[in-house]
């Protein structure tokens, strides 16, 4: 409910929660792009010079 007693929709509450949007906005690219990518590079076998 807002100050005028009108019901605020769940979507609007979600949009108004900047802190939560901030948190999710940092977590998704950190996991899907950065951490996943770092894990793949870290697990790549090192090339051997000798056959």
């Amino acid at each position: 409910m807002n100050e005028e007693g009108k019901k605020i929709s769940a979507w609007q509450l979600f949009f108004d929660d900047i802190s939560m949007l901030f948190l999710i906005g940092l977590v998704i690219p950190t996991i899907l792009y950065l951490l996943w990518g770092v894990m793949e590079y870290a697990n790549a076998p090192i090339a051997s010079i000798t056959p």
């Binding site: 609007q12 108004d16 900047i18 901030f22 792009y33 996943w36 990518g37």
Partner: protein, 512 residues
């Protein structure tokens, strides 16, 4: 700068409070942005006149130096200084609020200024011929990396000021209900900026230590992964800020009101969650990363951000049409469009920005972002044409259009040369359409990006491009020169108006 933190005036147009501290900060950041677009534009002219085989102006050393300076000045400094001005405008003027911690905001400004100046000087004196990407093992001087870090830290602090001001505005109830859509969009841009700048810090701090010799080795592949978390994501800040400016230009020119604001907000949320995954596009030709990582990021999640762009691309013209029809322009299908305010700079800037971003920059980004096609277009001019469509035709043109309204609204000066200001978006927009389309077409014929001499005059094995490619390169040069004329008009009008424009009386409600 020394203004009282609570000193304000009431805007005669919007009726909102404009605090002197916020106004000074907006002024400083916007003016600095214009200085950097002048530097970036001059560098663009030199690069263009070298890549055009008919002129081939600079020596190879100087070409790569100026090619490093151009994006630093035009892509990073101009756009981020302007975005900081936009963030402060969005959280203070639009919310009727004072700014949080003005002294810290000035510290952020000076950190950005010193950082950008340091980077530019290091490039110009030849200590950083590493191009924008500064890929390992290319090494610049420690001062170059330090400059980038100072700039990024300053921008990060500016984002903190923005969020702090949002909290103050909410606590002091300076606005009712939800954040206005433009401020909400700018909040999305600031969230994207925090992740971007954090990625920059993660990679640039060890690279700085590597340049000092403290760290012996940095993995080149790891560098590329994290660098693009900064390098490409910084363009996503631009996209999100640009869309927010589109809505603002719509309000200022036709009184736009979105038909369904929740849909527009949903699109911004999709940006927040998914747009930064587009960094993966730069790694599609990297053999180490698995197809799962590449496809998940670029062929699944990023389409959520593409969907968001399509929502905005439909929502804005629709809202313009509704606003115009409400004014009585209801004859036929297109009277709302023909009677639109084409004679004031904001509207053509909005339309050209939307068209160039949507139909040239955005679409080619989606095409080039697929793994199979990326292999063909990677490192060709097709990529360069794509991102000039997004950041120059899209973001820069939108910011230019907004400048003509910020000058009377916030800086209280009358625009000098209104006819030039009105012609400017047309000249700049048409020049960029020719420039980007020719560049993309030349790239599909194999013309490489970042190359000093595409005639390969000194090559042991001779090679010549198809004459069509050379024709397209010439068209690119002509389009680019037209856009540079448009850019020069913008700088001229903005500088003259800000410093010499007639001061508007406190109660003078004049926009443009």
């Amino acid at each position: 700068m020394a203004a009282n933190a609570l000193e304000f005036r009431t805007c005669p147009i919007t009726g909102k409070k404009v605090y002197a501290t916020a106004q000074n900060l907006i002024w400083a950041n916007a003016v600095t942005a214009v200085v950097f677009i002048l530097v970036g534009g001059l560098a663009a002219l030199l690069v263009l006149l070298t890549r055009w085989p008919a002129v081939h102006l600079l020596s190879p050393d100087l070409f790569y130096r100026i090619l490093t300076l151009h994006p630093i000045a035009a892509l990073v400094a101009w756009i981020i200084f302007f975005e900081v001005a936009g963030l402060y405008f969005g959280c203070t003027v639009l919310l009727n609020s004072r700014i949080a911690a003005p002294k810290v905001a000035w510290l952020a400004y000076f950190l950005m200024l010193v950082g950008a100046a340091l980077v530019a000087v290091e490039i110009l004196i030849g200590n950083a011929d590493v191009m924008f990407t500064s890929y390992i093992p290319l090494q610049a001087s420690p001062l170059y990396y330090l400059g980038v870090i100072l700039f990024a830290v300053g921008a990060l602090v500016a984002c903190g000021i923005f969020f702090g001001t949002l909290a103050i505005a909410k606590a002091e109830k300076t606005y009712e209900g939800s954040l206005p859509l433009v401020t909400f969009g700018l909040s999305a841009a600031a969230i994207i900026a925090v992740w971007t700048l954090a990625s920059g810090a993660i990679i640039y701090i060890p690279t700085f230590l590597w340049s000092l010799g403290v760290i012996k080795n940095i993995d080149a592949a790891m560098y590329r992964l994290i660098f693009w978390g900064f390098g490409h994501a910084s363009q996503q800040i631009n996209v999100t800020a640009m869309v927010s400016v589109w809505y603002l230009l719509g309000v200022l020119t036709v009184g736009l009101k979105p038909v369904n604001e929740k849909v527009c907000r949903s699109a911004f949320v999709l940006y927040i969650f998914f747009i930064n995954l587009a960094s993966e596009h730069h790694l599609l030709t990297d053999p180490t990363l698995s197809p799962a990582h590449k496809i998940a990021n670029t062929s699944y999640f990023i389409y959520m951000a593409a969907l968001a762009s399509m929502i905005h691309a439909l929502a804005i013209p629709m809202a313009v049409e509704v606003a115009q029809r409400k004014k009585g322009y209801t004859k036929g299908i297109f009277e709302w469009l023909t009677k639109a305010p084409w004679g004031e700079p904001g509207f053509p800037a909005l339309v050209f920005s939307l068209f160039i971003f949507g139909f040239i920059g955005g679409i080619t980004g989606i095409v080039n972002g697929t793994e199979q096609l990326s292999i063909k277009s990677h490192n060709t001019w097709a990529m360069t044409g794509h991102f000039h469509g997004t950041v120059v035709g899209g973001t820069t043109l939108a910011f230019m259009g907004l400048t003509y309204y910020l000058i009377p609204l916030v800086f209280r000066r009358e625009i000098i040369g209104k006819k030039w200001a009105t012609a400017q978006p047309y000249i700049y927009g048409i020049g960029l359409i020719i420039f980007t389309l020719s560049m993309i077409a030349a790239g599909t014929l194999g013309v490489p990006r970042r190359h000093w001499d595409i005639t390969f005059a000194d090559s042991i094995i001779p090679f010549s491009f198809d004459p069509t490619a050379i024709l397209l390169v010439t068209l690119t040069a002509l389009g680019g020169l037209t856009a540079i004329v448009g850019g020069a008009i913008y700088v001229g009008v903005a500088v003259l108006s800000v410093f010499f424009g007639r001061k508007l009386a406190p109660n003078e409600a004049k926009l443009i």
